[in-house]
Amino acid sequence: MKRLLLMLSALAGISLLYTGCTKEPLNHLTSDESRIYITDHDSTVNFANYKTFSISDSVAVIRNGTATKELNDLDAAYINAATKYMEAAGYTMVSNKQNADLGVDVNRIISTTTGVISNGTYWDYYGGYWDPYYWGYPGYGYYIPYSYSVYQIREGAVSLDILDLKNASENNKINVIWTGLIRGSGIFDASVADSQVKALFDQSTYLKAN
């Protein structure tokens, strides 16, 4: 009996140690450390061949499969930051009526369930939410020439896209030539929008006008 009690005590102790010994990684991340910045681009494109850009006047908010165009303080902060860093990269902003070389849009993705951003979901939604008419190319379709990775969504994301409007007529479609994705804690906060967009541009050194 004594032996059994001793062994049971040892087993209980081992179980406690097992659960108590593990260092949970998510408990050791700051908000800044929790964020990831993913950029991808069409490696055949020379970004120095473009001079002007136009940016969307609102943000497409994609919420569990439905989308709305919104412009609150947070959205304005992301649009302003994208404008600032496009200009810092040497591009000149023009209105969307002035045949810009590049189109820039901002999207906010909110999901309360586990979803996926992929070519087959995000871009299906996207195609319907940003009408090519906005950029002056009604009836055109979008095309993404590189493989867009699949990302699990739990809490939301902000994405920026750069579209090739300069060659849309020649290609008969609007190529998506750069995408940037921001994910992690605290990104739906206007005060951090500038630093988040800056991070995307900082890691995209090829994104420069002549």
Partner: protein
């Protein structure tokens, strides 16, 4: 690997043959705190920090004064956070992230201990063990993680000393060290080998 498997089989057969001829003896329970230091590829590729979060427990059957064998179960938690860095994936994708590795190992080993100098008060010993290493590996980019659990091979060699509570007591304090060879072949990583320092007690189960 083939040689090691043959050695494990030989160890198993030896222990079975010894238990068949041995007289009835009291089992011994080893309970040890384990401090683990990743070495080789484990250290350079996955986790540099030492892990103070571990333990091992073994139920040992003494065949005679010099030789005992049994089953050992352990647990160790490894964690490493690397500063933010830019990772290039394919030819066009860049990911900036703080990368964290979280690895839990649960070795289940057949173990033998040999005490060459039983007449001394301090009883030095050599140990060998081999068996399974259950590995739970999670890797996080920022707060986004993925992981997998699988079973791998593990072999162990060690030495230590048993300090009996009294001159005649079979129980005592145990201090030892092991080298654990732990091959791993997942996600491009090859090795989870460690050097371990242990301290604890050996209890005679009456």
């Amino acid at each position: 690997m083939k040689t090691i498997k043959i050695m494990v089989a030989a160890l198993g057969l030896f222990l079975i043959s010894q238990s068949a001829t041995a007289q009835k003896k009291n089992l011994k329970l080893d309970l040890n705190y384990n401090y683990s230091m990743p070495v080789s590829g484990f250290n350079s590729d996955l986790v540099r920090d030492h892990s103070p979060r571990g333990f091992m427990a073994a139920l040992m059957y003494p065949f005679n004064d010099k030789l005992s064998a049994g089953l050992e179960l352990g647990f160790q938690d490894y964690y490493q956070k690397y500063p933010r860095q830019l990772y290039t994936i394919g030819k066009s994708q860049n990911v900036s992230a703080v990368l964290s590795n979280s690895i839990q190992t649960t070795p289940v080993l057949l173990k033998a201990k040999y005490f060459p100098l039983t007449t001394l008060f301090l009883k030095p010993y050599l140990s060998v063990g081999a068996g399974a290493n259950i590995v739970d590996f999670k890797q996080y980019l920022g707060q986004f993680g993925s992981g997998q659990t699988n079973v791998n091979f593990r072999a162990q060699g060690g030495l230590g000393v048993l300090i009996p509570f009294t001159k005649v007591s079979p129980s005592g304090i145990n201090i030892g060290a092991t080298y654990d060879y732990a091959p791993y072949n997942r996600l491009g990583y090859k090795d989870l080998s460690t050097v371990n320092i242990q301290a604890g007690v050996t209890i005679n189960l009456k």
